[in-house]
Symmetry: C2
Subunit: 313 residues, 2 copies
Amino acid sequence: MTRIGFDVGGTKIAVGAISEDYQIIARRQIPFPTGRPYKEVARVMADLAKELTDRIDSIGIGMPGEIDNKKGLVIRAHNVQFYEVPFKDEMKNYFPDIPIHIENDANAAAFAELKLGSFKNCKTAVLLTIGTGIGGGLILDGKLFNGGMNHGVEIGHMRLDSRGPLCSCGNRGCVEALCSGSWIIREGKKAVIEYPKSMIYTRTQGNIDRVDAKLVIDCAKEEDPVAVDIFNRYIDNLSSAIASITALLDPEVIALGGGVSRAGEFLLEPLRELVRQKSFFKYPYKIVAAELGNDAGIIGSALLGEFKKEADE
Amino acid sequence: MTRIGFDVGGTKIAVGAISEDYQIIARRQIPFPTGRPYKEVARVMADLAKELTDRIDSIGIGMPGEIDNKKGLVIRAHNVQFYEVPFKDEMKNYFPDIPIHIENDANAAAFAELKLGSFKNCKTAVLLTIGTGIGGGLILDGKLFNGGMNHGVEIGHMRLDSRGPLCSCGNRGCVEALCSGSWIIREGKKAVIEYPKSMIYTRTQGNIDRVDAKLVIDCAKEEDPVAVDIFNRYIDNLSSAIASITALLDPEVIALGGGVSRAGEFLLEPLRELVRQKSFFKYPYKIVAAELGNDAGIIGSALLGEFKKEADE
């Protein structure tokens, strides 16, 4: 049985084919076709899936934003600019006879971590997927939680700083506005303009379009003072967000996924220390890189059919 | 069967005797003996309970802060200045043969609301008790939630404004620092100093010790511009906190308890509107005054024995 899982983000579309024993047996990744209408995005995704394997048993799609998983609608997904889009029906045009599921991407990833990764045997756990935006997945009482009213979970839109930068959602100082990869990129771009002697400037040859989160973090690892300052402010923001979550949920595990989590212990070690200082409960919370890493999105999406079965039970 | 419930806060100790059918059949309230050692506080409380009834079957104590309900310890309760205090054992000296339970006050209140009040039949609900500090109780999956690691739930120490005022916990801009009754009092006192023409000044005859939250809210009701400004800023703070909670938990009901909630619809109506504007999910969340009002603390504490039975099952 070959299940296809899509992990759609603001910058890329990743797809994988999953074996019976949950291994990714084939995969592709392309840049997200920014600004294109959803029908074109669906066509590109259908081609990708067919390219991957000629035998598809089910398709799962994880997408950032608010999803109506019953109707297969993308209600709002700022990072891919989809609003009230019947994306499941559109995909059905290409795969009329195959079950298709669509779910919030962080929910899909948290589900994968619960079944196979960092959250195995956990009752209370939190996943933060840090990419273009911030996704969040919650495990409560040992089950994937999709909001008390089934609207979803949007950790990225918890409030962190009422006077902070504008967020894509229209509010100020959301976790996403202060802790996403986009925040690092924006600060990196500002550094190119403000500090022409910094390593960030040199590495990009002054071209702000070459700034990405990895480049800024790499410069911080090499102790460039401007990059270190950005990285320290980033950890300060992220630790506040996590301390806020520990005050409310006191979770067993907090796992970080998404591109930024690839910084590994360079990020996690100072992060743990700051969270410990800021948390109301004086407990050394377990903060780890999500075990399935960037594969959680693909695997979780591919498993969505199983989640639906469980949820219906 | 007469069960005694204590609701201990930063400014008062309330106690009630509860009948079989959960009615408060007798009650007393005294100011909290601020600055006195815990042994003296326990003695005062024991006398209060004995005054209330000569037949006591169980005693429950709700106290603000971090409680180890198994060991009967008050780990940290800033508002009453108890740290690592074996309060249950101290009370045992006065009532050696009676079951005594101690629990976080907001947990006790949320439990009462779940059994008898605003949260009946709810799966996901949030109680905010707004007094000297801010307590929070969470109902998840239809049960009282005491944190994933059993440390508790401290909604008051979620982060709201990283550059906000100092909080009793040592951090900046916690929900408690911006949304408690103490915030209103502090702003009211500042108004006495800064605006000698304001109604707050007149009503207190310039004596800042006469400022309380009710006085400020009453002046806002009478459209005193200085008080209205304080009240509007308060609602702005509180709506941000609630919007943050809706992003994470998407609850069926949010109930407000504690002294400030007595402002009723004067507070709730503009609050609902602002929460609607700020919430990520565009849903008109149900925000109500806690049904059991200030009795929730007493009733919930008196019922603590039942909670423990359920938790052990």
